[in-house]
Amino acid sequence: MDLREEAVGDITVLEVKGRIDSGTAPVLGEKLTALLGAPGRRLVLDLRQIDYISSAGFRILLLSAKRADEAGNRFVLCGISGKVRQLFDLGGFLDLFAISSSREEGIAAVQ
């Protein structure tokens, strides 16, 4: 799994590439904790380039969304399509997260 961070004004876009499984989810979890650690943060998590996400990945996303909510941060997912979207649907996550169809819409949503 590769992570690429980009700042768009005071918004952070974190792009994930590859697989989010029990081996890589902790790394993503640490990064998300760091980015959402302080109040007032705004983060777009771009999942367009992931091939696979397991229950370990979903757990990290749930944890991060909960922490963001508690800290008053804004946290949006984007780029979920095809078989990855099917997994979100399968696990009942489509309605749980704030999801935008593209990075641009994600940035607009957290502004």
Binding site: Y52, F58, R59, L62, K83, L90, G91
Partner: protein, 569 residues
Amino acid sequence: MKKPLNIVYGVDERPPLGVTLVSGFQHVVLMSIRLLFPLLVAREAGLPPERILDVVAVSMLVMGAGAYLQSLSSRPVGSGYLCPPSFTSAYIAPSLAAARAGGLGLVLGMTVFGGLIETALSRVLRPLRPFFPPEIAGFVVLVVGVTLGALGTRNLLGIGVAERAGGPGPDLAIAVVSLVTMVALNVWGTGLARVCCALVGMAAGYAAAGVAGLLTAADFEAVAAAPFFHFPSLAHPMWRFDAALALPFGVAALAACLRAMGDVTTCQKMNDAEWTRPSLRSLSGGVLANGIGTTAAGLLGTIGVNTLTSSVGLAAATGVASRRIAHAIAGMFLGLAFLPKAAALFAIMPRPVLGATLLFSAAFVFINGLQIITSRMLDIRKTLVIGLSFMTGLSVDLHPAFFTALPPAAHPFVNSSLVLGTVTALLLNLVFRAGVRRTQTLTVEPGAVDSVGITDFMEAQGAAWGARRDVIDRASFNLAQSVETIVDGCGPGGPLEIQASFDEFSLDLRVSYEGAPLELPERRPTNEEIIASEEGQRKLAGFMLRRHADRVQSTHRAGRSTILFHFDH
């Protein structure tokens, strides 16, 4: 079955009478173009003009009855779709050879033989299915599309006709008028305008041909000279059989069978937005109707028929795919068979109009073939089966002199791109099947899990088997997620043994290991449970695994756990 957006009247729907009649008439015109084939054979057999009228009339009756038979949806005869037959180029070369060797009696006897072979093939499609996989059925449709397109452009450009004073310009202009009318009505037209785009395009072409002088008084005199009413005679020479012609007619029957499978598959796909794989019942019924049609053709006095791919293309183009159109076609041919003037009017169709019509329907046939091929994952073997067969078939049209110079015994196999391409595809498929195992195993050591390798295993197998992409995606997830969860939470005491088995109807994954069984709950754990502990995360994994497969089974015996994931294919 979910009707696709581009289909106006699906197979089970009842269009208004006007739409039914106009659509039926368009098919009748398209099918009648192929009356040229029995005419050619009748002339080759030396039949006098009054007998040729009988052959044309019987040919119309066979097409009408065939359209009705194909539309039947009850077992065992009929595909259940609007998939009418007409005379086929597959039977034309052996029929001409038979006409030269033994006259009409031999043509008819061998046609009955070909029809019986098709009928027999229709009864053994299930065991033969591995040898006729969907990508080869799609390949046949694709090649027919290319052949139709080539025939269309040949007619459209006036290639092969004696040079006229005005050069090819007038032919091209007429074709452009006809084709542009069809395309414009099809793309931008709505309602009835779209439904009858081909017919209006043909009428525009006839009008342009009249203006350009391609339709002359002599043409209309031929129509005027034909009698108003003629009761066809079914008298014909006694049927004869010649063993030397068994092979060419056998090859033609096989090609006709594969083409019918391709056409029926296209009909199924065209009528169902959620189409996943060909329905065997409908395929068998379609091939049986084809076989009965050809047998009846031979018995009544004409040559072999085959489902007409351009008619299927027309249904796709106009969006009118109701089987009631087949009933209208049957009724119209029943009437036209007794009206020689109508047949004569079809016979004077200007070549550029014929070319435009063929080209228009070829576009839809070609794309349907491509879609059927790509509905399956293709590994290097299947890529070579399709790619090499396509090129081999095409070489017949590109380098005809080479194939004509081959010994006569080879001619039945090399007389058309469709036959040579299909035979090549079947042989290559047979050769490449030899190295593909239907069951594959993989061993995963708990200390060295390579999740990418696990996914690659499923991808490679899916491509080798020619499986559907969506099924392989689901199986890949279940395999990777189950291995991950077992290794993290079930404490496996040794390697995980994975077995993947495939046939055309199902994909089964079996994961077996020493250790505690994996929980596969029916209820999704709450978000709080998932967040609270890794136990909640494992329950989520089990819930997703259960939901993702069509069937799951978990067993635990003597310390060994086994999970079976079944996916319908």
